[in-house]
Amino acid sequence: MKAGLLFFFCLTFLLCCTPQATCVQYRLVVRDVSTLQILQLYTCLDQVSHMEWSSDSLFILCAMYNRGLVQVWSLEQPDWHCKIDEGSIGLVSSRWSPDGRHILNTTEFHLRVTVWSLCTKAVSYIKYPKACQKGIDFSRDGRYMALAERRDCKDYVCVFVCDDWHLLRHFETETQDLAGLEWSPNGCVLAVWDSCLEYMVLLYSLDGRLLSTYSAYEWSLGVKSVSWSPSSQFLAIGSYDEKVRILNHITWKKITQFEHPAIIDNTKATVYKEAEKRPGVGSDEMPLHNITMGATLFNTQSKYEICPLPVQIPVVKPDPDRASPKIGISVLAFSSDSRYLATKNDNMATAVWVWDMQKMSLEAVLEQTSAVRCFQWDPLRPRLALCAGNTKLYLWSPGGCVSVQVPTEGGFQVQSLNWHCSGDSLILLGKEQLCLCYMDTDQEDK
């Protein structure tokens, strides 16, 4: 598998696939990861809004929402080109189908979803797609697609067979306002959840039967985020009441709930607090070193300290008048072996909570100095990488956690990160810069 990665100036969008490509304005650059050599260079017609690799890593899709255009580039045949023009109907989102040969374009105002086939140039239309948080989801084996539909003020789910886009099932859901749907990793259960005005999670079988419903409480703001565990055993539901509830796949009943209190006490978890190491004024070496480096103020080292309980996590109370308040569990991520669950509570934005799914208890809490921007699990190992909008990369594993300084000049602030599929390297995205981080067996180094 070829792997490409851009090192210097780039746009923020980057999707993780084994080869890595990045776009700058209207230029698409494909590089190899190991050698950083430019493999291909393409030019698009307009500013690229969205870029995606196909599943077989042979094609790259560049969508320009302003122009309503989608351009597809081939890696093997640079001369090959494909341009899809949505015309006056506009384009809001574009994505690949799992087989890598169809492109699904969602038109403006979600009027319809057009399925373009690159094999036959055939077009299919899907009417009444719903404009919601997550309206389309493909099953992991790429065989089925679930699409949320809104027709006559009622929510429906359409299940399509990705082979020939044949409508397999079409059923109404018991939601007031469907906000999202997600397939379980084994492809047999579809989780459907309602908007935050009502706490309702529905579980449908592949053939459209309602398996179970779950509603923790009424009236208060409901579900904020939903995540399946990779083994399909657990469904984690994060809600606005700062709790995560775990459902099991046998009875679809809650087996436990994880709370995020402001004062952590009475737990066996370790609390890591990031402490910044200020360079000593008296030491002669450090200032010189820093000066030569060229960044004294921004590149402060930091390390983790283990805090004894009880620990107080700083809480930021959200504005009650605003919609979608910054409170509740917004991000849930399971590790690849389903052993750990990482959560983030929006009103404790500097803390990341790691839960052990075997013991169903809190394993660790990482408290950063600034708000956590993004975190992602290693695709293979139980290793969590997180970034907080500063120049550091943080890694946690069951053995401990470490803070790594990204050795770049200027104010490179890590806004988001992505793991490589093999778990060997990480991409750190800044506003205008990108950094690749290689994982060694012992230490992280660039």
Binding site: C82, I89, E108, F109, C119, T120, K121, D207, W219, A323
Partner: protein
């Protein structure tokens, strides 16, 4: 008269109350006499003095002075005295009246006061009761107030929460509404734009060339079969998922069941191991009985458990038995704890001392035994060594070396001798037999030759006139022997037969008897001449038989043979 009586009474009373020792005997005499009169003509003087004394004691001027005027009374003084006394009396009465009145008054006061106190007490009681009742009510009301306050607080909190909820929902609705409005506006604009803008850009795709499918297969038409196939595949996926899940659950179940059974077994073993140690607690004992029964039951069940506890009853049974065992174990542990705690107080120390002593005695005894056995073994060992190492004579040594086998050896020697003798006898006999057999074979050969020549002669001399020509007896012995041989063969044959049959060690020298004798013995001589020709013809027939004629004669030859044989048999035996 009441006055006088009262005066008298007063006097008497005064007399009675003022008895001075000096006056006692005089008083007694001055007491009323039988008539009830104080003064009589006898004791006037005494009375006078007494009265004057009394009067003076009253504080009145004396009535009579003794040494004075004689026995005549001063009437004026007496009257004065009387008047004074009357006054005194009146005064006394008055005071008595007053006092009585006073007393009445005070009595009534007392009564009144008593009444009032009782009334007041009652009132007090009543008011106290009322007070407690009021206090009680107050307390209850306070409690109610508190609870109501709590309720109020809760309600307020809930109201606040609901208000918050409403507020957030309202803001969410507003937000959504605004979003939808914005989208609607955009839609309106776009619609306007489209209506105005005639140039409509159509959708189009521009591909350089079609690319193959990712999996290399050709895309298929949408048909009903395809739909059915999709349905089928979907159900297959679902089913396989259910299968794997069920299998996992089964495995988990089996493991848990195993764990439970193991636990049960352990618990049962623990509980049963302490059975003999359990002291006679009846309840415990009965519990034990039940436990043993259950164990038997369970032991039996464990053999069936491989069938698997699939039905609800079996599962419940396992669960119940586990619970039961656990309860027993728990009670056992509790009992042990209590025992330990009671032991720690020092109660059972004395009971431990005795067993320990016996235990030690036992130990000593065993040690002694061991020592004795060791010594014994040692001695044996020594003796054995001595035996082996001690020197002795050669003879005795040689004797001794084989002493155990001597008797047997002698016996064997004797038997050997007898066997040797027998063997020699057998050798001799065998030699005789072989010689006899050799001789017999020679004789047979000769006999056969003779017969052959006789038969030849017979054949050659074959003629109707068998009588005229008699075979010359002078012919070779062999001729006779031929004819005789036919008989002698018959004779020999039986002899042979006899020989073979009996195998007697007697060897009969085979000397051919004289022909006549032979004939005679064979009963074939003219004693019975009739038989001869018959014989002859028979012989002829025999020869003809030999020549290979009709088998009928063969029969006769056989018959002759048989007859001769039988005859010979008779003769020889």
């Amino acid at each position: 008269m009441p006055e006088s009586s009262t005066v008298k009474d007063v006097l008497s009373s005064s007399v009675e109350c003022r008895t001075s020792p000096l006056r006692r005997f005089s008083l007694s005499s001055l007491h009323r006499n039988s008539l009830g009169v104080f003064c009589s003509e006898d004791n006037v003087q005494e009375c006078l003095s007494h009265i004057s004394q009394e009067v003076s004691s009253f504080g009145l001027p004396p009535v009579w002075t003794e040494p004075g005027s004689g026995s005549e009374l001063n009437i004026v003084a007496v009257l004065n005295c009387m008047y004074d006394l009357i006054q005194l009396h009146r005064r006394g009465l008055r005071t008595l009246e007053n006092m009585e009145v006073e007393q009445l008054k005070s009595n009534s006061n007392v009564d009144f006061l008593q009444l009032s106190t009782t009334r007041l007490k009652e009132q007090l009681e009543i008011s106290k009761r009322e007070n407690t009742g009021l206090l009680e009510r107050e307390r209850q009301l306070q409690l109610k107030v508190k609870s109501l306050q709590n309720c109020l607080k809760n309600e307020k909190e809930e109201v606040q929460k609901l208000q918050n909820v409403i507020a957030s929902r309202a803001s969410q609705y507003n937000h959504e509404m605004k979003r939808k409005e914005r989208e609607f506006n955009k839609l309106k604009e776009r619609l306007n734009q489209l209506l105005v803008d005639k140039k409509e850009k159509k959708q189009a795709i521009d591909v350089l060339n079609n690319i193959g499918r990712a999996d290399g297969k050709r895309s298929l038409w949408k048909t009903e079969k395809m739909e059915a196939k999709h349905e089928g595949e979907m159900y297959k996926t679902l089913l396989s998922d259910y299968d794997t899940r069920q299998r996992e659950l089964q495995l988990e179940n089996a493991e848990l069941r195993k764990v439970l059974q193991q636990m049960k077994k352990d618990m049962v073993s623990i509980l049963s191991s302490r059975k003999p140690a359990a002291k006679g607690d009846k309840h415990e004992h009965s519990g034990m009985q039940a436990a043993s029964e259950e164990e038997d039951d369970e032991a039996f069940d464990s053999s069936k458990e491989s069938v698997e506890l699939y039905c609800v009853h079996a599962r419940e049974k396992l669960a119940n038995s586990i619970r039961l065992q656990w309860r027993r174990l728990k009670s056992h542990v509790e009992r042990l704890d209590s025992q330990v705690s009671s032991a720690q107080t020092g109660e059972s120390k004395s009971t431990d001392a005795v067993p320990r002593e016996t235990h030690e005695e036992e130990m000593d005894r065993l040690k002694l035994e061991i020592q004795q056995c060791k010594d014994f073994i040692q001695a044996q060992q020594q003796l054995l060594q001595q035996q082996l190492s001690s020197p002795c004579d050669e003879e005795t040594a040689s004797l001794l070396s084989d002493c155990y086998m001597l008797q047997e050896k002698e016996r064997l020697g004797d038997e050997w001798k007898t066997l040797e003798e027998q063997r020699k006898i057998f050798e001799r006999e065998r030699r005789n037999f072989t010689e006899a057999a050799i001789r017999l074979s020679h004789e047979r050969k000769a006999f056969e030759e003779d017969r052959a020549t006789w038969l030849k002669h017979q054949f050659l001399n074959l003629s109707p006139f068998s009588d005229s020509k008699k075979p010359s007896l002078s012919k070779s012995k062999s001729a006779f022997l031929i004819s005789a041989e036919t008989d002698s063969s018959a004779a020999v044959a039986p002899e042979k037969f006899i020989k073979h049959r009996s195998e007697s060690p007697r060897c009969v020298p085979l000397t051919s008897p004289s022909t006549a004798d032979l004939y005679r013995t064979l009963c074939l001589i003219p004693e019975d001449s009739s038989t001869k020709p018959k014989r002859k013809t028979e012989h002829v027939e025999e020869s003809s038989v030999f020549c290979g004629n009709a088998p009928v004669r063969h029969k006769r030859w056989d018959g002759i043979q048989d007859r001769t044989l039988s005859q010979e048999k008779n003769s020889s035996i």
